[in-house]
């Protein structure tokens, strides 16, 4: 019998790693991820989880130890946030290019300076191009579900890419919500044993990580890119298989009440749930609005996005990150780019808010929708607009 328990997203992720029978955990504590390594250490100490727990001395070493463990064929898990993700930045690229299917939870945290332990998406945006499969969670159930799904997809022999599961620091990591935990036998049915085809072993010596002279580096990178894009097939299959076994179906782009909606709001992460209430409020007033929850961030779901917005006139994209001097919030610029070649496409408007733990209320999202429609009608001086900032923001010229 599956059971329903109150869990923080952190504990939900740890529980998923436990049920996945992870072999090696190498993690370094950083707010707001700490509850994950703490819970895992507890599980190992109590014999609930048979894993090697390596209390490394930095995040760079955390992911590096994961590279080593994955290279010998161990199922590997780690977690970090904000500055920790930045510190391991070079290792993040290596994990993808060397095709080690490590699963990593990111409790999304703002980047220094000034120092902020609180949530936003700037840590995720900094690793956009690193070649990890990336998904965002709206709630703690998804934090659990996506972690299990991540192992299934990343370790698939047709994929062999590492996976990042993002959920908002504090808003999810430290908030208790009901989570349905499946039975172990259901998990075992969903998640086969990890069989890494290139495991380092004296019986079959191999060389991992040879360097790439100019006459071969480009081919190596293109091969990685093509394989990365192809992983989308297994991503979709993984979502389906997950739904078939556990009853919850996930999608790269999840529309919420978008049928016939002229104005759409696109959000990622926990704020999608807040925004949905704003959508309901406005719909009750007869407004033609809907929401898109962007779940799959990499590889970017071009087809699904284009399909979801084809009937809309306005698409308001809400970012929790500034790309300094760039074309707006990172998600909005990707969305614009994805729609650029479409004959018919909505006007895309960019909003940035929710930085460094700044909350977004239902009213804030209502404002975003109203102001977004106004910008489409009357234009704006600014390249993107902010919400929830004290003082009128000007000087963001395009």
């Amino acid at each position: 019998m599956s059971k329903r328990v109150g869990l923080e997203a952190s504990h939900a992720a740890a529980e998923a790693a436990r049920m996945a029978d992870v072999d090696v955990i190498a993690a370094y504590p950083i707010t707001p991820q700490t509850h994950i390594p703490e819970r895992l250490a507890e599980m190992v100490a109590d014999g609930e989880l048979n894993a090697a727990y390596i209390p490394v001395e930095s995040e760079h070493s955390a992911l590096s130890a994961c590279l080593g463990a994955a290279a010998v064929g161990a199922r590997t898990f780690t977690a970090t946030a904000g500055q920790g993700l930045e510190l391991m930045h070079e290792v993040v690229y290596v994990a993808s290019s060397m095709r080690y299917p490590i699963v990593m939870t990111i409790c999304n945290r703002a980047l220094s300076a000034p120092l902020s332990v609180w949530g936003d998406h700037s840590d995720a945006m900094a690793v956009r191009d690193t070649g990890w499969i990336q998904v965002f969670c709206q709630n703690n159930q998804e934090a659990f579900d996506m972690t299990l799904w991540a192992f299934r997809v990343g370790e698939d022999s047709r994929v062999l890419f590492p996976v990042m599961v993002h959920f908002d620091g504090f808003h999810l990591s430290h908030v208790t919500e009901p989570v349905i935990l499946p039975e172990q036998k259901e998990v075992d049915k969903f998640l086969p044993r990890f069989q890494y085809p290139f495991a380092l072993n004296p019986d079959k010596p191999m060389t991992h990580g040879a360097f790439g002279p100019p006459d071969i580096y480009s081919e190596a990178k293109v091969a990685q890119e093509v394989a990365f894009r192809k992983s989308k097939d297994v991503i979709i299959q993984g979502f389906k298989e997950f739904g078939d076994i556990f009853g919850r179906y996930y999608h790269p782009v999840e529309p919420y009440k978008t049928e016939g909606a002229r104005t759409l709001l696109l959000t990622m992460g926990s704020f999608s749930e807040t925004a949905k209430i704003a959508i309901d409020t406005k719909k009750n007033k007869g407004e033609s609005v809907g929401l898109l929850n962007l779940r799959l961030w990499r590889p970017f779901p071009f087809e699904e996005l284009r399909q979801a917005v084809k009937d809309a006139e306005t698409l308001i994209v809400f970012d929790r990150c500034i790309s300094f001097g760039g074309p707006g919030g990172p998600v909005s610029s990707e969305v614009r780019s994805a729609l650029y070649n479409e004959k018919e496409r909505p006007r895309v408007v960019s909003f940035v808010g929710g930085l460094g733990g700044r909350d977004m209320s239902v009213k804030d999202f209502e404002y975003v929708i109203d102001r977004g429609r106004e910008i489409v009608e009357k234009g704006s001086e600014e390249l993107f607009e902010t919400v929830g900032i004290r003082g009128k923001v000007t000087g963001i010229r395009g």
């Binding site: 095709r99 191999m206 002279p213 081919e219």
Partner: protein, 102 residues
């Protein structure tokens, strides 16, 4: 040692790349003819050689091999001509000569 066909990156299309660029062919770098680097080559005087094998152990390139008769001689496919063998030979049986001399 006959010249081996050198396998270079230029032989590979992107489709030929192994997953993660892993090299599964053990020790395939042995195609490289580092003997081309030489400006000097070692000559062994078998009369003086005591078959002590010190030249074999001190060669950084593992280019010295035992022959059928038990002498240790330089594999000229690989030998870079550093002169360490000549320098350490206790019997003075190895001399370095200019590569142009035959």
């Amino acid at each position: 040692m006959t010249e081996k066909r050198l396998k270079t990156g230029s032989d590979f299309t992107w489709k030929d790349m192994e997953v993660g660029n892993i090299v599964t062919e053990v020790g395939n770098a042995s195609v490289r003819k580092t003997g081309d680097w030489r400006t000097k080559r070692p000559i062994l005087d078998r009369e003086k050689c005591t078959k002590c094998a010190l030249c074999w152990i001190y060669c950084p390139d593992a280019a010295i091999k035992p022959s059928e008769e038990g002498y240790y001689e330089s594999d000229l496919y690989y030998c870079k001509g550093c002169g360490i063998c000549a320098s350490i030979c206790p019997a003075g049986a190895i001399t370095m000569i200019e590569e142009e001399e035959k």
